[in-house]
Amino acid sequence: MALDTILQVVISGLLMGLIYALVAAGLSLIFGLMDVVNFAHGELMMVAMYAVFTLWQMTGLDPFILLPVVAALLFGLGVAIYRLLIARALSVRFNRGMVQIFVTFGLAIFIRGFMQFWYGGEFRSITTTWLANRTANVYGVYLPLPQVAAGVVCLAAFAGLLAISRTEFGRALEATREDREAVALIGIDRDRIFALGWGLGAATVGVAGVMLAGFYYVSPNVGANFALIAYVTVALGGFGSMFGALAAGLLIGEVEAITAQILEPSLKQVGMFAIYLAVLMFRPRGLFGKI
């Protein structure tokens, strides 16, 4: 295989992997905070994609400009989900684990159905943006600019998450993650932290969704697909670890790209699933898991 083909595969795997990593980071954040796996995580990303698509359709503005708007929207949605649903689910005495699974799972299905109902099942795409259909040619490797931009933004988002972790809010998040029982003793309002944590997790995956919409089709099922990859990525990287999400995301992205090359494209996910199962066998906590 020619060198530039290999490079092509590797780099496109990396770029996609960055998106997977960011989606996983949001999921990991929420789980690390309160032990709830958000089964609606992929659907939140889909909401972001539909949001940016609709706004683009209405205003003609480039997704880059719409990014902060959608991120804020998703932040609000995350907080709302926590306040209306999750807070209630956490206070159930009977069968709490099952309730948590079903609440977010039910939400996922509901959102998927709603999007299908509202927008119909056809694939949409954002076609006239600043970067659409533009490619850079670097030493024989073709880099589609929307993907590159997505990768860059995702990296920036990770840097942003890192910066947030250094702030007081970030430290409160970490404290709540470490010992959610005790934080009340040091004046941290646990409920508020949970709500903001959900907002941040949703905003994170919203950013990924907006960037993804630059080159990926928008459909009601896109959430389910990315959600599964997100779970696999987080489980691989270890729940509760941001670094694990990044590392695992890149790994998954690469494995997917390589598998698509070696096997058929329609089987490209088998590779990452196999790795996920293999890791689970030997390290149930994931590569860098803290929980």
Binding site: M98, I109, M281
Partner: protein, 334 residues
């Protein structure tokens, strides 16, 4: 106290009551379709009974044993493919094929369960979805079993040997009724057996259960094998009834939801939950799709989602607990 007291214990009395109710219900369901000649209604009852049995099969693993599987369509699909392939390719009668499908599905469930049971709650649920997706992808690309095009079941003559009935679909009703009745009976039997008590003990307090000699892994394997078997048999029956199978109809994530949902709605870990849930859900689904447009427009998904969230938040014990309230009896140990 001696054994005579045991015969009159609260548990024994309750179980006897359950059998009586089941018997009456069975008698009603045997007679029910006879005056009904409307094909649509008969089909509705058949699908309801099928999903009642399927969900009871799921309930054994997810409800009683507490291992929430969100990818159970994998076993449904395996059962359907094994049985259908045996019939289409090998001319093996479906009654045999169904059992074979169930056994292969049970074996697959054991294979999956063995490494995956170590995982707790959420991790387990995710792993079941991943395994099901792998199955779906593999089936899509495996031409031997038809790939994405699926398999048509050729009509080979009306008979009970072939389990094919074109002129009058009534025998399918009795086939599915038998299926649902057997799954109910197995669940009833397991609930009162050593394994059933093991499951409940583990759900309540793992440490105490172990100190009493309860073998946790073994009990989970039994649950998954039984559950896998019945789900596979249900899949085989479905393939016969519909006459066509493909990955999208029998290995999909949406089907996995539909298998678990009646139990969740009706009451996980209860004997009647899946049946009540199916009786509510399937007709509701048909109603919504006929009044609000064909399936695929998302309304059915919204319905499922709302139901799941509603039950989980408002009444996690399921609709069964409402029935008990009406009876004036507090919902006892489930």
């Amino acid at each position: 106290m001696d054994r005579t007291t045991g015969m009159n214990s609260s548990i024994t009395r309750r179980r006897r009551r359950e059998l009586v109710v089941a018997g009456v219900l069975l008698a009603i369901l045997i007679v029910l379709p006879l005056p009904i000649h409307d094909v649509y209604t008969r089909n509705l009852i058949i699908i309801t009974l099928l999903f009642a049995g399927l969900s009871q099969g799921w309930n054994i693993l997810g409800g009683y044993c507490g291992q929430i599987s969100l990818g159970h369509s994998l076993y449904f699909g395996i059962g359907a493919y094994v049985s259908t392939m045996m019939f289409v390719g090998g001319h093996i009668p479906p009654p045999v094929g169904m059992v074979a499908g169930g056994i292969v599905a049970a074996a697959a469930a054991l294979l999956v369960g063995w490494p995956v049971f170590r995982l707790s709650g959420h991790y387990y649920a995710i792993a079941t979805v991943v395994v099901q997706e792998i199955g779906y992808l593999l089936a899509l690309n495996w031409d031997f079993i038809g790939g994405a095009s699926g398999i048509y079941v050729p009509f080979r003559g009306e008979s009970w040997l072939n389990l094919q009935f074109r002129i009058d679909k009534l025998p399918y009703h009795y086939l599915v009724l038998g299926f649902a009745a057997v799954t109910w009976l197995v669940a009833w039997w397991l609930e009162g057996s050593r394994i059933g008590f093991s499951w409940r003990a583990v759900k309540d307090d793992v440490v105490a259960a172990r100190s009493l000699g309860v073998r946790i892994f073994h009990s989970k394997m039994v649950a998954t094998a039984v559950s896998g078997f019945f789900t596979g048999v249900g899949g085989a029956i479905f393939g016969l009834y519909v006459g066509y199978i493909d990955p999208d109809s029998i290995l999909s994530g949406q089907l996995a939801i539909l298998i678990a949902l009646p139990a969740v709605l009706g009451g996980v870990g209860t004997l009647w939950g899946p049946f009540i849930g199916a009786a509510v859900l399937i007709p509701l689904r048909e109603l919504s799709s006929s009044y609000l447009g064909s399936s695929g427009n998302g309304v059915d998904l919204m319905l499922y989602g709302a139901l799941i969230m509603g039950v989980a938040l408002l009444r996690p014990q399921g609709l069964v607990s409402l029935v008990n309230l009406v009876r004036g009896r507090a919902h006892g140990a489930a």
